[in-house]
Symmetry: C2
């Protein structure tokens, strides 16, 4: 068995997962607002003792995988993560502190990479060596497989597709640039698009509010999803030209909107593919259940580290 942990801004999720992706036990703890990472890790540790009454050592736990924003696989750190108080303004040696408190050294990676490993080990990409997973939620993240391995680049920080420009001199992005695809295709991007399109916009705060309006036939809401899907599809066609993947999977909260988003995304994607790719690269929905992606991705990272260790 492997422990998968997803560190989020408001809650952190913990699961015990077997090799087939079955979650035998799980828990959710609130992510403390403290700036001390040890508080969260002790919370997780306590929760794990409840999930694994024998403790780590007597229950056959072989690895711990952690998915977190701005986590570095190479360094085991979480750094400058705006939504995590304990790592907001610095680099935190999460793996080291976790080892000290629990006796187990975890493997870390960012949430989008974890989603990609999850798709490879438990999802629709098990037979693929070259594919991409795009997570669309609070932000737009990407995990990219090249020749059977995650693309980390020279420093472990590759894959920031969310901060490549969709619209030159477009919306301001929190990264400091303008027009990044994340400012259009994300929860806040969708909300902003809806507000732009509506002449007299009703109070909306989240994609779900817009989804409810779309379901009752609200035209501005439907158009906001359509435009967001088209922008996603157009941008991913550029990524297909760069990577020639076997498929691109979409994951994350926004895909709950279903065909409001996905049909326009698929159409725009195929229309913007290069000639030699047309009709050949499918845009697919992640095969992991949305609520389980984070835990399964983190657990898959754990399984992946065991396999590589065995090969070595």
């Amino acid at each position: 068995m492997v422990v998968g942990i997803d560190i989020g801004g408001t809650t952190s999720k913990i699961g015990v997962v077997d090799q087939s992706g079955n979650i035998s036990a799980s828990a959710v703890v609130p992510t403390p607002e403290s700036e001390d990472p040890a508080i969260l890790i002790k919370e997780i540790s306590r929760s794990l003792i409840n999930l694994l009454p024998g403790g780590f050592d007597n229950t056959g736990i072989q690895a711990v995988g952690v998915g977190a924003p701005n986590a570095s696989f190479f360094r085991g750190t979480i750094s400058f993560a705006p939504n995590l108080n304990f790592a907001k303004n610095r680099e935190v040696d999460f793996a080291g502190i976790f080892l000290e408190i629990t006796g187990h050294k975890p493997v870390l990676t960012n949430d989008a990479n974890a989603a990609a490993i999850g798709e490879k080990i438990f999802g629709g990409a098990s037979e693929m060596d070259d594919f991409m997973v795009i997570t669309v939620g609070t932000g737009l993240g990407s995990g990219i497989y090249v020749k059977g391995a995650l693309l980390y680049g020279s420093d472990g920080l590759a894959g920031e597709v969310g901060h490549t420009v969709f619209q030159r001199d477009g919306r301001p992005c929190k990264c400091g640039k303008y027009g990044c695809i994340e400012t259009y295709v994300s929860a806040s991007g969708l909300v902003n698009t809806f507000r732009e399109l509506s002449t007299n916009p009703p109070e909306v705060e989240t994609p779900y509010d817009i989804y409810e309006i779309a379901q009752t036939g609200g035209e501005d809401a439907i158009r906001a999803f359509k435009l967001t899907g088209e922008r996603l599809g157009i941008h991913l066609a550029d990524m297909a030209a760069i990577f020639s993947p076997e498929a691109i999977f979409i994951s994350g909260g926004l895909i709950s909107a279903g065909e409001f988003l996905l049909e326009p995304a698929e159409k725009a994607f195929d229309a913007n593919l290069m000639k030699h790719h047309k009709g050949k690269i499918p845009l697919r929905i992640s095969e992991l259940k949305n609520q389980q992606t984070a835990i399964l991705g983190a657990a898959a990272l754990g399984w992946d580290s065991i396999r590589k260790h065995e090969i070595r």
Copy 2:
């Protein structure tokens, strides 16, 4: 020794190259306008007999590398290459026909990939595993190394950075899309930018015409180079966010413009890097001599195929 062959629209270049990148003999043949690829290959074969008086077999030639537009490393083919009559409207089994005529099976890849292999084997990237080479000439090509190997994707056609969008709904591109970076950063892109900037533009046909005007202090010409360099730098910063390379090398005809192009490119590149990359990823000039890049790249492909064969 290895033979490196570069197939171009007007001329094809042939060189005999040793392991250190010394070209001991070379020749240039006009690329025939015929639609029959055998005509060109027989021409190359004749030329090689002059360069290697003993013929292929008695001169220790260990491999033949070919760089050509739209060449597929996986399939040994050249397909739908607009500037090559023999492969304009179809896929040609170049490796097969070459083998039939000469008795040697060549290794093929596209020119930008060849430039990247050349940079790895003979140039400034010998110690790097993750880097990019961008060739700026007639078009904008890219060869991308990931973990010590060229990025080919699932079909051998990855790396089409030239056809990713720089300016949404911008200039029409021959690929069918609008605003591709190649329509701004390439020989014709520069000429078009110069014509846009000049209120009363003099007759210019090539980048060299504009370079001559810039050298005499022509402001529109200097601005055209500056804008082209800035666009290149801005776009490559997006590529750095995706790939986290150790360095990006620029190659191809346009770099002859020197600081007119390169200084604005470097400035814009660094200004648009993500925070964690600022100051860490150099934008460098290829260390291969411009006139030799094509032959050295093709020859490096040959050497690379021998090394991989030896490892196997």
